[in-house]
Symmetry: D2
Subunit: 210 residues, 4 copies
């Protein structure tokens, strides 16, 4: 397929990514504007590059015609959270929209079920309808929800996979696993502080009500 045709195919995905970024950022702004805690720290999004789409299609034996139906992360949204439990709060916010402005296809919990490599993240695959200049269309999109530490680790693993073409040497893979553990420990420490704070607050509120 030619570049121009690819551009035309990818345009609705660009639009979907822009819309979804605005929507998830709005949730954060809304909560902060009303002095409530936002489980969303920041949001990024991207459309997969043509070369990466073709590579993935080749790897999984997906024909050109099937690409839009089989490759689920052409449109990708990433939501970063401060604490592990925020991830599940964001999941709830998305589930509440199911059947409204989006439809959940399935979910993958790589936090309860950490990948062999050390990768942690919560994925939700959705169908998202958009109105384009050429009519209505429904596309697939992948939402990844993670803590900042998980994201930091995943970014580095991603560049190593890119560098080593998915064949990271054993020695470095070991180190990566160790650093995944360090990232996880950081998340656990943070989570425990958070717990402490909530307990301290409850104690304080209980006192002021007597």
């Amino acid at each position: 397929m030619e570049i121009l045709q690819w551009n035309k195919i990818l345009i609705p995905y660009e639009q979907a990514v822009e819309e979804l970024k605005v929507k998830f950022k709005a949730i954060r702004n809304e909560l902060r504007a009303t002095n409530e805690y936002s489980p969303i720290e920041f949001v990024t999004g991207r459309v997969k590059k043509v070369s990466s789409i073709l590579e993935k299609a080749k790897k999984y034996g997906v024909s050109t015609e099937e690409i839009e139906e089989k490759i689920e992360d052409i449109a990708g949204i990433r939501i970063m959270c401060q604490f592990i439990d925020d991830i599940y709060k964001v999941r709830e916010l998305i589930r509440q929209r199911d059947g409204k402005d989006l439809r959940i296809v399935y979910e993958k919990d790589y936090i309860q079920n950490k990948k062999e490599s050390g990768y942690q993240s919560y994925h939700i695959i959705i169908r998202y309808p958009i109105q384009t200049a050429f009519g209505e269309k429904e596309i697939l999109a992948e939402i990844q929800i993670r803590t900042l530490a998980m994201n930091f680790w995943a970014t580095i693993e991603h560049s190593l996979n890119y560098k080593y073409k998915e064949n990271i040497p054993e020695k470095i893979r070991e180190r990566l696993k160790k650093s995944a553990e360090a990232a996880q420990r950081l998340d656990m420490e943070m989570w425990e502080i958070r717990d402490e704070i909530i307990n301290a607050q409850k104690l304080f509120e209980a006192k002021s009500n007597t």
Copy 2:
């Protein structure tokens, strides 16, 4: 009502304006990416300031409870076009979405029916559903569609109205009308060039098909 409460009321309008700006800009980008002419030149949006909302409510005898139902331009989108006929193409694009991601309430054609002051613009009042951090909500929004010349004139009239508190002196009002005519003449001249071009192209295509 207090500032904080106003903030909470206006948040969904902010979100709607952001979403609608993304959506109309997407139409322009989609058409240009496929080498097609875009009737949309650029898009702006704003949420009305609290002070302006209260002023308008007072002027039209709208009670605080009725504000969200009676004041239709709290969320405002402005779409600028190069040529007069583009305005009606944009209107068609919006009408095609009616019942999909928005609902048209009514339309006002201040181009066929120019205001006494010289004001020209096409207004579409819509209902627009959004998913907020606190659940679903449907808000009213006003979409204004105009040429660049109409917009230029309207901007200046607006600042004069602001300066003179809606009591523009007769002499200046006369001048404003004259400049509205100059703006209109510019639009007509441009529209005629456009017509010429389209005719020239048709001639050319007709030739190359024989």
Copy 3:
């Protein structure tokens, strides 16, 4: 020259355009934040596309090595004003910076000396120093200052020139000139209103001082 090399050449121009946009927008924001009138209505900027640079180089017989020194509008900034006299106020603002964060090379006044085609605009060619990841560099940039009406006309002339490859048919060229006159009349009408307002204000102030 290859694409990658071109990218490297154009990067400092991208940076210059970003910096200059921020700087001229800041002037507008500063004046408005202090309730003063801003002669700058809005600011856009762009880096010339490689294909357009090569075309221009060919047209004027500029060799690849001379491009950066001979083609003055690789980095382009456009400043739009509401009124004709604002253009000269913006020129003063730029002249005051001469020898500070930029150096003026020369100026072209296509307002006093309208082009045959009807084109009107004020051009200032500057040298602008930037700090890049690879060290210091000084680039050429062109600043175009115009009213909204001049800009509207120029945009349309530009697309016609593009369409007809600089050979706009006589009949359309005539129409274009007529519309340039309509644009100019609009600017004159607006300028006269502005004069009226200033007079009205002086009258008012004179009154309130007695």
Copy 4:
């Protein structure tokens, strides 16, 4: 001092933050566009809120007249890095500009000299000249350079300090220190992987040169 006066004082700081953000983001873009590694991962910036400026002035006994000369972080830029050694590369990039578009006042290395609380970051205080609508001005700005893990920890410490008004309870302070250690361990693990990669690459290059 009144709000309006404060606005006027803070405007040049807003401009400086915008310019510096554009400049440091440009470095990242320039390196990435030429396939080189960027020590800058992302850049944020903010102008201190009036209430925070007044609080800090009160705390350190700074009079209103001295504020601009004594409070060094009214304009704040934060540069995030992937690896610890990137911090020192960014420092070099800034030192190379000393005397060009900025002047370094002094530096504070809270990485070699970690704060008692666990806080880690590299601070550079600069003087930065800007051209405003009202003439030239030189302001003070603080640049903070940190890894993503350091930034994550600092964000949480900051919100706890805010919540407890600088009096974080002993028990939570202990937990915070522990999590600072976890963050540091993550940075060390990452830094070691990075080292491994560089070694692996050297080995590879050495091989391909024989």
